[in-house]
Symmetry: C2
Subunit: 468 residues, 2 copies
């Protein structure tokens, strides 16, 4: 990018809110994938008008613009793989409105999701989406990737709570979508087109969310099973017994061993898997659902259930669950982490498949995650510096994806496609669907300046990566 | 349309499944608006391949194709305003699958919504969307218009239950959107783009819905208020007391008088409005919510609450509520019926506005409907044969729409735009939004053959109407 363009960017956001220093660029070059791509400049706009001016400039001079929240994405959505401008949303971080009586919130994209949750909670309201990175990820990033989390089994994911957006288009024009009422059918649903579009169709500058009343009670259970296939079968069974948990997480034995010390008591040697289950709602509803759950499990052999009796114990269970992902690195220096989804009844098939795959390839594969909605995090452990393991890891990944499609599932439940999964897109989407998506991309971004190199299969030059 | 094209249509669907007789054409010329436009031919395809062949033909010979479910739409979505082919979905009427364990249903567009509800109910499952035309409207029409209904206040509308579609594009290509899992973020969300698009972007040939467990208990209440402003204020109050009704309907005095004979007991003379409220869920949850509701109302002066104690009484209350719309014709031969939405707390302002408007213009305006989500059905009564009333009706409608936008609302909550509201679209959507929507229309339907004349403001020649 030429110096006069950098100067124009500085003119738009102010010299103090734009940087080209190498140290700074490095801070905006990575995300949760561990991959690194240096941008050429980072700008920190603080209003929609500045974002619009940046996009007009990018359109006029044709340089890439990559929006960035907290950089916590798992598939490379915020990586500037073709350089250009990183548009950091850290100053677009205001909660603009919480309309308690109409149960609506309006935020800028840089608002931290967990902080928004805390603010609405003070008013007795609830914004359920709870990705693992809750404490630092942003509402804009969540919208762009359609983030999920454990609560999705009952409440749905980010897209189920966003009812309107303000988006700056590639041209710099400002688009308003949706309404501030839950109902609304005036023209096409543009809101959803942008949610999960990973910054490739426009820059989200404002988000309208619906909110729900805060559940008053919560009960937390840990179900230990001596049979892996029983534990995985139990997931659909629980949901089909008219129990609607707000958490239904699954952990295999390898995952449990990694966090055994964090659990209130370590799992007995013969335990093959555990389910972490929570029920929320009014006092009576939680009591009823609890009774139903205990009754179901009383007739289920080979498993035991314990309820967290104190908030401390509940926190311990969650700490253990949340620690699995980082703890996997005790086993290998690298991993391929996938968030595939299968219909709930196919979870046993999927887990069985990964076990065989691990055995066959001599790899460690850990499965855990949001079993309630069929969204299993499959972690293929490996050492990338060993050519053989890298190769086997890629084989495992491709075979996993093919199996998921075979099981009527989908390649990603909440992480998106980004760069890490784009080459597998044709496994799931047929030619017509891919063509239509590309036509939409071309309509909204004819010059290809919005987060280029993402979602669609293409030759992202590996050499552009500073490291991986 | 030339004879050889009609012949080709007959070749695709079979001679017995295609008609050009005037008597038949009349049967496919009208909808809930009372307006009539004759198609040139009606075809009844029975599979996706036939729909695709029809669209290839339409693309090659450039004639309009208008998909039609039951013709129960309220804004003209299924009217062939420019003639051409009506693609009737009555033979695409199969429930293809109900996957009980994964709580998913797959249907063809011609399946009647109420029948689908009954079928899933047999398996202990629930498909909540419940438009008034439930007993005869179709899943395809519901998807195309994004139908709502009383249950939307708790469960959401059609779009909240559809997770995937099969769509035949203008070109005849077959597009698959979404997944059969609730989570899924692979590429752009094309499903929502088609829902509510009123047949202008493609022909829906398959619908994947999510399903939820059937609520076990239900309690029904009728709240009578001696103060109109109190009744309308109560709506937001109830919801902000952590009560989540599955029905929260409002009826003004004029509406009540129309159906007084159908109510278990006629409303006292000083009653100004009533709310019909239902709570569903597990036994304990219904009990708790009932207690909360009664406690709230015990401190609310000027209103009384009665609970339906028998199923018969419950049915009577619903019959009365459902009879309002047809009963309005006791007052005048015609009406302008709008389904505007405002934030719940603005309902008192909206109702106050319509009262003043009615007084000022000397018209009868009835307000009733889905107050819980701010979706009020405003019925402006008139005799179209009287020039003066017709003129005043149009004035009332435009002023109503302007006021709704002023109150941060939207022109349509569940009926769509069709032809009746298209000229008002620029009131709600700014130039950029309209431009983007038109670009999308042009991308999916460059020749303008899919349901032409709908949604977007244009000169729909009134003379094309056989009658109105």
């Amino acid at each position: 990018m030429e110096k006069d363009i950098i100067k124009k960017i500085a003119d738009i956001v102010g010299r103090d809110h734009c940087t080209t220093s190498l140290e700074d660029l490095h801070c905006y070059s990575y995300d949760g994938t561990g991959k690194t791509f240096l941008p050429e400049v980072v700008a920190f706009p603080d209003c929609t008008a500045q974002v619009a001016a940046l996009m007009r400039l990018a359109s006029a001079h044709v340089f890439p613009v990559v929006a960035r929240g907290a950089g916590s994405g798992m598939t490379g959505g915020s990586l500037p793989v073709q350089g250009g401008l990183v548009l950091a949303c850290s100053r677009l971080n205001h909660i603009l409105e919480i309309d308690k009586d109409n149960q609506i919130g309006i935020v800028e994209p840089g608002v931290i999701t967990g902080e928004f949750q805390q603010e609405v909670k003070k008013l007795g309201l609830f914004y359920p989406p709870d990705p693992a990175s809750l404490k630092f990820c942003t509402m804009g990033g969540n919208a762009a990737e359609c983030a999920g989390g454990p609560s999705a089994v009952k409440y749905g994911v980010t897209k189920d709570f966003i009812i309107g957006l303000e988006v700056v288009l590639a041209s710099g024009e400002i688009l308003t979508t949706g309404t501030r009422t839950e109902k609304g059918v005036v023209g096409y649903d543009l809101t959803r087109l942008f949610i999960g579009s990973e910054g490739t169709l426009g820059i989200i500058t404002k988000i309208i969310t619906r909110l729900i009343p805060l559940p008053e009670y919560k009960a937390t259970f840990l179900i230990s099973s001596r049979s892996l296939s029983q534990a995985t079968t139990l997931v659909a069974e629980i949901l089909n017994h008219n129990i609607r948990p707000c958490t239904l997480e699954y952990m295999d034995r390898t995952a449990l061993d990694l966090v055994a010390k964090l659990l209130p008591e370590p799992p007995a040697p013969d335990i093959e898997a555990m389910l972490l289950l929570e029920i929320d709602g009014s006092k009576g509803a939680v009591r009823e659902q609890t009774e139903r759950l205990l009754s179901l499990l009383s007739t289920t052999p080979q498993c035991t259930i314990r309820q967290a009796t104190t908030e401390t114990e509940r926190q311990e269970l969650w700490l253990a669950r949340r620690s699995i992902s980082p703890a996997t690195f005790q086993l290998s220096p690298h991993k391929i982490s996938e968030d595939v989804v299968v219909p709930r009844t196919r979870i046993p098939d999927l887990v069985h498949f990964t076990e065989n795959l691990a055995r066959e390839l001599g790899l460690t594969i850990i499965t855990f995650g949001h079993a309630g909605d069929g969204n299993i995090h499959v972690n293929i452990m490996l050492d990338r510096d060993q050519e053989e393991q890298r190769r086997k890891g890629e084989i495992a990944r491709e075979r996993l994806f093919r199996q998921v499609i075979e099981l009527a599932g989908t390649l990603s439940g909440e992480h998106g496609i980004g760069i890490t999964k784009s080459s597998f897109l044709p496994l799931e989407l047929d030619d017509t669907t891919l063509k239509v998506m590309k036509q939409l991309k071309n309509l909204f971004d004819p010059q290809g300046i919005l987060n280029p190199g993402k979602i669609f299969p293409q030759d992202v030059s590996a050499s552009a990566a500073v490291n991986k």
